[in-house]
């Protein structure tokens, strides 16, 4: 593996609420995150709403400051970078949003928005810009005639391609894609996912792919990080995590997703209750309040990520040392049986 491009060390982010004089403790959105992404790597970040996925994306881009730990990009600490340095780094990393309807300025033509990055950083003399915009539009599979039109003239999938062209204009090496396909129609999702895979291939982009769609993560990503309430529950290579989830939350998340495959449908853990409020997380393991396997020790001890098998697969569960896969499978069968009975 080559040297990492982006690294996060003990990264944390707290959002405080309250007024001018009275500050309330606030929400710990991200806790102690360690992550490194190598050039050409696609890392999937999965979790439910409120798990801190989007916050992590914005922290890695330096769009919001970290309240603990640090983010390094290409060896430079983002928080310590001078403003000139930061401008240079800004060019190298970009963001693609979930909603292609709100991420494009409705009042300016697509071509001008794509050119923004080039103009801001003075990358090209102005007469070469139209040709570059044409090339970018082609790269994302759109016709160059699109440049003169306004965002509302495009469909969702086409808008997402425009947003991607805009992000690629500054020739970034790192892309954060925040739920880039979840607002799109199913038939279009696959096209856009394929485009991401192609871009990684042709441009060597490193991508942080934030999603709640496990199917998309499975097909696109090399590694996956599973979040719950701002903490990493499990991480590792996609094949390992998906075929042998070691953390009960990962297993529940995977079994909860509706499936077209009839055989899989019988194995289901329906988690009871809702995720706890991030304002007041449970003590010890934050998942214990919904975990079918929780024991007394889970309430006192915050579990650390520990290796499971080989190949960088790690999970944060104190019962991970036990024969995990059998345990989860057994439990799935037991629950399925109980569900069928009731």
């Amino acid at each position: 593996m080559s040297a990492p491009l982006v690294t996060a060390e003990k990264l944390g982010r707290r959002f405080s609420s309250g007024g001018f004089l009275r500050r309330r403790p606030g929400v710990q959105a991200v806790v102690d995150l360690n992550l490194s992404i190598a050039p050409g790597d696609i890392v999937g970040l999965v979790g439910e709403s409120g798990s801190g996925k989007s916050t992590i994306g914005r922290l890695l881009l330096g769009l919001i400051p970290a309240s603990a730990g640090r983010v390094c990009f290409d060896g430079d600490d983002l928080a310590r970078a001078s403003s000139a340095q930061r401008r240079r780094l800004r060019k190298k990393m970009q963001l693609v949003f979930q909603d292609p309807y709100s991420s494009l300025d409705p009042r300016r033509t697509v071509g001008r928005q794509i050119a923004d990055g080039i103009v801001i950083h003075g990358l090209l003399p102005s007469r070469q810009i139209p040709a570059r915009v044409d090339a970018l539009l082609r790269q994302v599979g759109l016709d160059p005639s699109a440049a003169g039109r306004y965002p509302h003239e495009f469909s969702g999938g086409q808008r997402q391609r425009v947003a991607l062209a805009r992000a690629l204009a500054t020739e970034p090496v790192f892309l954060v894609a925040d739920e880039p396909v979840s607002a799109l129609d199913v038939s279009v999702q696959a096209q856009v996912l394929k485009l991401f895979a192609d871009l990684r291939q042709s441009l060597g982009l490193a991508i942080l792919f934030i999603s709640h769609d496990l199917g998309a993560v499975r097909h696109l990503c090399d590694r996956v990080v599973v979040l719950y309430l701002g903490r990493v529950m499990e991480e590792g290579p996609v094949e390992a995590v998906f075929s042998r989830p070691a953390h009960p939350y990962t297993a529940a998340l995977m079994s909860a997703a509706p499936s077209l495959d009839v055989a899989r449908r019988r194995h289901r853990i329906v988690l009871q209750g809702d995720p706890p409020s991030p304002l007041d997380p449970p003590s010890g393991c934050v998942f214990r309040t919904r975990c079918p396997f929780a024991i007394a020790a889970c309430a006192t001890e915050a579990p650390q990520l520990t290796p499971v098998g080989g190949s960088m697969h790690r999970a944060a569960c104190i019962r991970v040392g036990e024969d995990t896969t059998h345990r989860i499978d057994d439990e799935l069968h037991r629950l399925a049986f109980r569900n069928n009975q009731s």
């Binding site: 709100s102 009042r107 923004d116 509302h152 500054t170 199913v186 696959a190 499975r218 509706p258 009839v262």
Partner: protein
């Protein structure tokens, strides 16, 4: 439609040019008195007559326009520049700038504008020169407020974050991204400010604190004419008419400009036509059929003509059955559900079709009959539970309300029934939760409350429009389980509208696949998913990511918009199996086993 507002623009231009050219027009001196010609009626040398000092009214009107227009336009412009700058800086940068902007405007807004203007004029002395800054101070706070509110909304939108991520500086973002997007409300505010300062100028001049006599101004003219109203009422008419015309044309121009600078075409006011064509004779529905829909077409009037987002859709749902209406965005699935509830948006209308709910016609009935059925025999669940519940009422009361609307029971009975319903839909601790407000509950809990509300009166049909799309996967699994339990227990028929095929596979008995407003395939869910008989269904199934196997294929191209439908098969342009014969519209054909397909090559699949 984006059309430059020529009419109002030329009216304003006419006024401005007239005012600018006043010195060069062959008009009598507006201040030259002619006591002999007091109150003279209009004649050749004085087209609008003469005033109480014998001065020419037309000339005074034109010269007065110079003063009125320059004061009001100048003041509004100055107020706009100052106010918008403060507002955008405050709204975008927040922090100290926000504090300064807000408190400054708050202080100014504490004073009634007239009093504030009077105060400043008294300090600096009257005259047209002082009026412009005075009026600008009076109107700047409202610009600041409008710009501040706009900037605050827009700064949190993704496209602002996107341009920040591109590395744009703050001044650039404020000038190039925020400003154009708040142009609409600012223009409206501008027209209001022009009108208001024109009136205020007239008022101040009338009080002797604005333009000083004998210089002409519309306000002075009105003031002077008031004194002689009984002798010469026409003198009051001319300046008032000029004032009205100027204000109206400036307002019209600003409104027109607002639409013109907005690149998105505005939706035209809907017209409601009562032309519902007879759908032909349909067989009366059988006894256990809860809903029978025949030939539903929905039309929407757009500036480019009527479009049909739903065309000739028919299906039946039996008691205790779940029918999934599947399609992508723009397939017409939600409109179909809304049409059945009689809840189509104002722009849309049912153009053709009949629907029987328990034998009662719902599409062609009087609105109050349909209203009586809603919440009683048919109920609906929406996608976003948080915005579908009323935030200011307790959830228990909201459920009780639905029961009281249709059942003759006491309030206490309704409330205890509401608690029982909450228990039935799996809300923990129902008596306490009944007293909670929606914002105190999670999305999953709110959706349970919505479902409880929907089944409160024991409906025969439940229409669920993407009920789990806004929920997390683990919560979605809970809600799907709840809905199938309810169906089994109560025998309610379920119309489940969704784009999510795996969810359909989990919950549906039968499936209707919509594409571009038409049914393309219909049949038993398991059968259809195992052996699709339409290329679109097949491609859609191939687009959903699977646990195993290769990455999904996707379908090239995108759904045609209802305004630009292909002449033949709507799916043909994206279809791998298309033939020359697909240029003609294919019929929906029975293919056996209770299934139908709208593909001429269904048997080859």
């Amino acid at each position: 439609m984006r059309r430059f507002p020529w009419v109002s623009a030329s009216a304003v231009a006419f006024l401005v040019i007239l005012a600018l050219l006043a010195p060069y027009l062959a008009l009598p001196d507006p201040t030259r008195m002619d006591l002999a010609g007091r109150f003279a009626a209009p004649h050749a040398s004085h087209l609008l007559g003469q005033d109480e000092y014998g001065r020419d009214v037309l000339s005074r009107l034109v010269w007065g326009a110079r003063v009125s227009l320059s004061v009001s336009l100048g003041a509004a412009l100055l107020a706009a520049v100052v106010g918008v700058t403060l507002g955008v800086i405050g709204g975008y940068l927040r922090g100290g700038a926000e504090f300064v902007t807000l408190r400054l405007t708050d202080i100014l807004l504490c004073f009634p504008p007239m009093l504030l203007a009077l105060l400043i004029v008294t300090l600096f002395g009257p005259g047209a020169r002082t009026l412009i800054p005075v009026l600008a101070i009076v109107y700047a706070p409202s610009f600041a407020r409008v710009a501040y509110a706009g900037a605050l909304t827009i700064r949190s939108l993704d496209y602002v974050t996107a341009i920040e991520a591109l590395g744009a500086g703050r001044p650039r973002i404020m000038a190039r991204t925020i400003l154009p997007n708040i142009a609409g409300p600012v223009l409206v505010q501008f027209s209001l400010a022009v009108a208001a300062s024109m009136v205020l100028e007239a008022g101040l001049s009338f009080l002797g604190l604005g333009v000083t006599p004998p210089a002409p101004s519309w306000g002075l003219m009105i003031g002077a004419a008031r004194a002689t109203m009984s002798q010469a009422p026409q003198l009051l008419l001319w300046p008032c008419a000029a004032l009205t015309a100027a204000i109206l044309s400036i307002n019209a121009l600003c409104d027109g400009l607002r639409d013109y600078v907005d690149p998105q075409p505005a939706a035209r006011r809907p017209t409601r036509l009562a032309d519902r064509t007879a759908p032909g004779l349909a067989a009366p529905p059988s006894r256990d059929t809860v809903l029978s829909l025949r030939g539903l077409s929905v039309a929407i009037d757009t500036p480019r003509g009527a479009i049909q987002p739903v065309r000739d859709v028919s299906f039946d749902i039996k008691a205790g059955e779940t029918l999934a209406l599947v399609g992508e965005s723009g397939s017409g699935k939600s409109l179909t559900g809304l049409a059945l509830m009689g809840l189509l948006p104002p722009a849309a209308r049912v153009e053709a079709g009949r629907a029987w709910l328990d034998g009662i016609e719902v599409l062609d009935s009087a609105p109050d009959i349909v209203r009586g059925l809603r919440g009683d025999r048919v109920a609906m669940i929406f996608q976003d539970p948080m915005s579908s519940l009323n935030p200011v009422h307790r959830v228990g009361d909201q459920i009780a309300e639905v029961i009281l609307a249709h059942r003759d029971v006491g309030a206490a009975d309704a409330r205890s029934r509401a608690v029982a319903l909450l228990r039935q839909v799996g809300v923990p601790d129902p008596p306490r939760r009944a007293a909670a407000y929606p914002h105190e509950m999670s999305g999953g809990m709110c959706q349970r409350v919505m479902i409880g509300m929907a089944v409160a009166n024991g409906p025969r049909l439940l229409i669920a429009d993407e009920p789990t799309t806004a929920l997390d996967v683990t919560v979605q699994a809970q809600v799907l389980t709840l809905m199938s339990d309810l169906k089994r227990e109560t025998g309610v028929a379920l119309l489940f509208i969704t784009h999510n095929l795996p969810v359909v596979a989990e919950i549906a008995d039968r499936v209707v696949v919509l594409y571009a407003g038409q049914v393309v395939e219909q049949g038993d869910a398991a059968e259809t998913f195992a052996h699709p008989r339409h290329p679109y269904t097949k491609a859609l199934l191939g687009s959903a990511p699977r646990e195993e196997g290769p990455p999904p294929e996707g379908i090239p191209g995108s759904v045609p918009s209802p305004g630009e439908l292909p002449s033949g098969c709507c799916f043909a342009p994206r279809c791998a199996m298309r033939l020359a014969a697909c240029e003609r519209p294919p019929p929906l054909v029975e293919i056996g086993g209770g299934r139908t397909s709208r593909c001429i090559r269904w048997s080859e699949m």
